[in-house]
């Protein structure tokens, strides 16, 4: 299963990892003013998908529940923001709260359907649920605009009444959201609740006989992951100014899955690394060749063959070897 060797065996992380982490943080905080607006935009995308990937990791890496429908909450919250801000002319906070609440409520409803299933069954059922949402966004044209999507989501800076505007202020707003979400998720996974989740991942029947309500823990983990995914969806709607069914497709769902697997499930840094790698590669490679899908397919296969535990876990020795 994913992330067998989680961070709970926390021998001090090797020095190169700490330096890499510090370097990464410095770039994220101090870099943008020195970069062109194209690269600032890309970094903003990286951060948004990093939130999404981290939220999936709470489920996949820490709880051991592989969800293929996770982008659904991201999408529903982005659509909610788009619909509220265009068709209903709602204010900034209504849109933000509306998006997060819509995504979270949906995950609370879906959670009831999936929290008792495990492994491959979980994979397949979340995939089907995700596709139902995609179908809805694609065909419920009066509300979602179908294939054309919804355009005209106001700029975040104007909508929120910020005195500044442009890619750099937007970037720092995203960085703030990213920091807050990352911190919250780090607190959650290192809390007793988070350790119970890891226990369920490793051996659910043992956790149940120890008296834990494993269903409830899985359910809560699902809803928490859904809530953070909704946050990233809100930021995405404002970043893109436009929502369409593209981000609810199966390819998008598994791309987030790849970000987590490539980066390293069971760590929160890994998904950020994975999101960065995929978003940057996608944009850079797409500029040179039309064959991005071919390369992405190859990345999947190479990842599974070469780094099945993810990049961030590369140096770590598995307990069984």
């Amino acid at each position: 299963m994913a992330g067998r060797n989680g961070t709970h065996r926390s021998v001090r992380s090797p020095a190169w990892k700490r330096y890499l982490l510090i370097l990464g943080l410095v770039i994220l905080v101090a870099g943008p003013p020195f970069l062109s607006s194209y690269w600032v935009g890309l970094l903003t995308q990286v951060l948004i998908f990093a939130i999404l990937a981290m939220s999936l990791d709470v489920l996949l890496g820490y709880t051991g529940l592989p969800s293929l429908g996770h982008v659904g909450f991201f999408g529903v919250s982005a659509y909610t923001v788009a619909i509220l801000s265009t068709a209903h002319q709602a204010g900034f906070w209504t849109c933000v709260v509306g998006g997060i609440v819509a995504g979270t409520l949906l995950s609370a409803a879906f959670g009831l359907l999936v929290s008792h299933v495990r492994n491959v069954y979980f994979l397949m059922i979340t995939l089907a649920l995700g596709m139902v949402l995609w179908g809805l966004s694609y065909r419920w044209i009066p509300v979602t605009g179908g294939d054309n999507g919804i355009s005209g989501v106001p700029r975040l800076e104007a909508h929120a009444g910020l005195p500044l505007s442009g890619p750099i202020p937007f970037y720092y707003v995203t960085l703030l959201v990213f920091g807050a979400c990352g911190l919250l998720m780090a607190l959650i996974v290192s809390s007793p609740f988070g350790y119970t989740l890891r226990g369920i991942r490793e051996n659910e029947s043992r956790m149940r006989s120890l008296g834990f309500n494993t269903w409830l823990h899985c359910y809560l983990s699902y809803v928490i992951a859904g809530a953070f995914a909704s946050v990233s969806g809100v930021v995405w709607a404002y970043y893109n100014g436009f929502v369409s069914p593209t981000y609810l497709e199966l390819t998008a769902a598994s791309e987030v899955f790849l970000m987590v697997t490539l980066g390293g499930p069971g760590t929160l840094v890994g998904p950020v690394l994975g999101a960065g790698t995929i978003v940057l590669l996608k944009n850079v490679i797409s500029a040179y060749t039309q064959r991005w899908l071919l390369i992405l397919g190859a990345i999947y296969i190479i990842t599974i063959l070469g780094a099945p535990k993810g990049l961030w876990n590369l140096g770590r020795v598995s307990p069984r070897s």
Partner: protein, 284 residues
């Protein structure tokens, strides 16, 4: 009433195609526990391979045969070379099939371009039958019949032959089956290849009506997954019942509430999941 009967027949046609695709998916799942994302790609490749062969030889039969053999062989190779080494690691296998789904999609785009096309109708099966006031295309009836025969054939192989017995043994207990002399690895490869071939066959059968186009690989895949979830993962009987349920609901849904099609599939899936989490005929 006429409307109702026509729509039911249309629904059964969708069900027939779905069964061809979902039966392979559910067999593969039963033996290997693989969530095969590339299954839709095999369905797509079937149509494309058939179109090339038909264009060269003008023979529909050869086209269908080539599609099943080529795609089946591709499935066999993918299983033996890339999936077998990750036996008992469902996530790694799922990601692997996802990678292949993307590869196949792009390769098909490079080789065959992005223009949609349909396969020609067989000469003998053009036109419609008329019973009273009901008019129904012969070809659709033919597809329903073919799917029923494939279903019967699969059932006979599974229940009445030695290969089927070994297959059932491998589903129940792979280690024990291996211990009694069944080559489970080879069997898995063959089942995966057969599943791919079945999906390709489904693509060819639907070819004159649905045709081939970029993106078709992920079009029917979710429906096939819903069929397998409703019917029970790994159950052939479940795939049959599931196909009929999904085919009918999807068809009536599209006709009655077009903007909510896909969503109409949600209800039966939820009901089944709530009452029987393993599906109608699935085993835990």
């Amino acid at each position: 009433m006429i409307y109702l009967i026509t729509q039911t027949l249309n629904g059964l046609f969708s069900a027939a195609l779905l069964f061809l695709i979902a039966s392979g998916l559910t067999l593969v799942f039963g033996v290997m526990r693989i969530v095969n994302i590339a299954h839709g790609s095999f369905y797509m490749l079937g149509v494309y391979v058939a179109s090339t062969v038909i264009a060269r030889t003008r023979s529909l039969l050869l086209g269908a045969l080539a599609a099943v053999l080529v795609v089946g062989a591709a499935g066999f190779v993918v299983e033996r070379v890339f999936l077998r080494r990750f036996a008992a690691e469902p996530l790694a296998q799922m990601m692997m099939t996802m990678g292949f789904a993307l590869l196949f999609r792009d390769i098909a785009f490079v080789m065959w371009g992005g223009d949609p096309f349909t396969l020609p109708y067989p000469q003998a099966l053009r036109g419609s039958v008329e019973v009273g006031e009901i008019v129904f295309p012969i070809y659709r009836l033919f597809v329903i019949l073919v799917a029923a025969m494939v279903g019967l054939g699969l059932w006979l192989v599974n229940e009445r032959t030695l290969v089927g017995a070994r297959l059932r043994a491998a589903v129940d207990d792979p280690e024990m089956a291996a211990g009694t002399g069944t080559n489970v690895a080879l069997l898995s490869g063959l089942v995966f290849g057969a599943g791919a071939g079945l999906a390709a066959f489904g693509g060819v059968m639907g070819g004159p009506i649905l045709g081939g186009y970029p993106g078709m690989d992920f079009d029917l895949l979710p429906l096939a997954f819903v069929v397998v979830i409703i019917g029970g993962m790994g159950s052939l009987k479940g795939a049959l019942i599931g196909s009929i349920v999904v085919g009918l609901i999807d068809n009536f849904g599209k006709a009655l509430v077009p903007e909510l099609s896909y969503f109409t599939l949600f209800a039966p899936m939820v009901i089944v999941l709530a009452l029987r989490p393993t599906g109608l005929y699935g085993r835990a």
